[in-house]
């Protein structure tokens, strides 16, 4: 026999009356604090403080302690010189790809003196993957896991609900958005918690375009610490502007939902440790091969002259429309494989501050990395094609706008 919903609720009511007794419940300090974190007037300042904490700890641990404190010294002071010394065939193809592409100055082959410039698979590749991205990912996921287990995420969702409604989503979309700041790949799967296809499409597209991943955040913090704030500002503004537009043009519904707010909990260390390990290791299984592969591909393309050719071909677009040097063609190819690698490569190209800012924003909003791409394909090819179409328009439009803003401010 099957019941209809009303009958079911009636049945439940009478069962509950017989088996459940509700004791007296006092409003405790813990509850009162919990309420303050979801009311806008008090919740927003708290959210602002939580973000500050997140960013500050991220920078201190990944940047100051790990990368600048130890890894730069290790890679530039020991690893690079040692490899340059012992690896045979200086100046040859293999050497250039694996160790150091070096530079020709006055017809003389000069070795690079740091791992950003060397471009080799075993030098730049390993340095970016292990020296810069690993610490960033570890600390990012540690803090994310703590926030998750404490139960803060749904509160953030409640706080941001009204704003996200403006772009066709609802508060809960903050979950994929924040996951995406770690890595876009699991975030694409997490969009399944949104109700309609429209919402999923908007979310996936915005993720792929505007949310930089943890690896990229780590490398930006390292190579452009003064500009990263502006890069993020441009990305956040873009997220909302294009979200607003997408909400207008994509057909479909954006239903209201009731966000379930769980109790605050003390995180369990065993769970935190396990989750951190799982996430970091699965991230690295994807990241390291692609970083290394990215180095190989870009180096080979340089050696055969493809990148110079492409740079010249696209020069009018790059220089005229985006206002960045044509040498950015190389990093843009790398960006398709790994964004962190692309930013690292951008950092050694000579350009003005504003050009650097524009170039990094372009790298971020331009094609998602292959892994994300594959994940989106798994969620549906129609959505993927739609996203790519939106992305192409956004890159040109937003890239041009950023150039224009620079011109208006007199800095481009």
């Amino acid at each position: 026999m099957k019941l209809n919903p009303d009958e079911r609720w009636d049945l439940i009511d009478s069962i509950a009356r017989h088996v459940v007794t509700y004791g007296e419940y006092r409003h405790t300090l813990k509850d009162a604090i919990g309420e303050l974190t979801v009311k806008p007037m008090t919740g927003l300042p708290i959210a602002i403080a939580v973000m500050y904490c997140f960013w500050s700890v991220f920078g201190s641990f990944a940047g100051t302690l790990c990368t600048d404190g130890f890894f730069v010294k290790l890679f530039d002071g020991y690893w690079l010189p040692w490899l340059q010394e012992v690896f045979p065939g200086k100046g040859g193809w293999i050497y250039s790809i694996l160790i150091d592409a070096g530079g020709m100055t006055n017809g003389e082959f000069i070795l690079s003196d740091n791992c950003f410039e060397a471009f080799g698979v075993l030098t730049s590749g390993l340095f970016v993957a292990i020296g810069v991205v690993l610490p960033a990912i570890v600390i990012f996921y540690l803090m994310l896991t703590l926030l998750e287990d404490i139960g803060y995420m749904p509160r953030l969702a409640v706080l941001i609900d009204t704003v996200l409604h403006k772009i066709g989503l609802h508060g809960y979309a903050i979950v994929p958005t924040i996951l995406s700041l770690g890595c876009n790949v699991p975030a694409v799967t997490a969009t399944r918690i949104l109700e309609t296809r429209k919402q999923r499409f908007i979310m996936m597209t915005l993720l792929a375009i505007f949310i930089p991943c943890g690896a990229q955040l780590g490398i930006m913090e390292e190579v452009i610490p003064d500009l990263i704030g502006y890069v993020l500002l441009y990305l956040v503004i873009g997220y909302f502007i294009f979200g607003f537009i997408l909400n207008r043009i994509v057909p479909g519904k954006s239903p209201e939902i009731l966000i379930d707010v769980p109790q605050y909990q003390k995180p369990m260390m065993t769970n935190v440790r396990r989750k951190l390990w799982m996430r970091v290791s699965s991230f690295f299984k994807v990241a390291v091969p692609f970083v290394l592969l990215g180095c190989v591909v870009v180096n080979v393309l340089y050696l055969v002259g493809f990148i110079q050719w492409l740079g010249d071909l696209l020069a009018p677009v790059f220089v005229g429309w985006f206002g960045v040097p044509k040498e950015t063609a190389g990093p843009l190819i790398a960006a398709f494989l790994r964004k962190d690698l692309a930013v690292a490569q951008l950092s050694v190209i000579e350009m003005t501050q504003y050009q650097m800012l524009s170039a990094v924003v372009l790298v971020s909003i331009y094609f998602p990395c292959v892994a994300t791409f594959a994940m989106m394909l798994k969620e549906g090819w129609k959505e993927l094609i739609g996203s790519v179409a939106v992305l192409t328009v956004v890159v040109f439009l937003y890239g041009g706008i950023i150039h224009l803003i620079g011109k208006l401010l007199g800095v481009a």
Partner: protein
């Protein structure tokens, strides 16, 4: 034999799953952590038994992709045992899904999880009475502390399909007693 872990989002299904199978599915304190199913295996009386961690769903009428997966998993395994995980502090909501699954003819066992939270909130549930009324095994658990999980498994054999009509009759009986004042 196959066991499905079903229930609302954020009630502790993934914790159950990890404890039962030794797997490493992500557990977090918010709804919608699990959006795809995961299979795992545990041994029961020397036999390998398949256990599935199903995404949380509020009802069998799916509202999003994750819930679609959940409902599809249930429909796909007609003869599966279902461990219905319920947040003890929100019994009514949880029972709705449990009843729906029972109506579909599945052998259900109910795990009243987060017993510690219910105790904090001073909510008491009479397990035996609930078991009597529903006709399916009911076990209190605290999954994160590994309390009650083995009891759930040991009572799997008592799970059998129930006709909701019997429950309604039972309820009528209870109401009757209520009206005539004891006996």
């Amino acid at each position: 034999m196959k066991i499905l872990l079903m229930g609302h989002p954020n009630v502790g299904k993934s914790v159950f799953f990890n404890r039962l199978t030794g797997a490493n599915v992500i557990e977090s304190n918010y709804s919608g952590t699990t959006v795809d199913y995961t299979r795992g295996y545990m041994s029961l009386d020397g036999k390998e038994v398949e256990v599935v961690d199903v995404p949380g769903t509020f009802s069998l009428d799916p509202k999003d992709r994750a819930e679609e997966v959940a409902v599809a998993m249930l429909k796909e395994a007609k003869d599966a045992y279902v461990i219905c995980v319920i947040d003890s502090s929100k019994l009514e909501r949880g029972l709705y899904l449990a009843l729906q699954i029972m109506e579909e003819g599945y052998s259900v066992i109910i795990a009243l999880n987060m017993d510690d939270v219910a105790e904090d909130k001073n909510i008491k549930i009479d397990n035996q009475k609930l078991e009597q009324v529903l006709g399916v095994p009911v076990v209190s658990t605290i999954a994160i502390e590994n309390i009650g999980i083995s009891k759930v498994i040991s009572r799997l054999k008592d799970a059998k399909p129930v006709d909701v009509e019997d429950i309604t009759v039972m309820r009528a009986g209870m109401n009757h007693c209520g009206r005539c004042g004891r006996t």
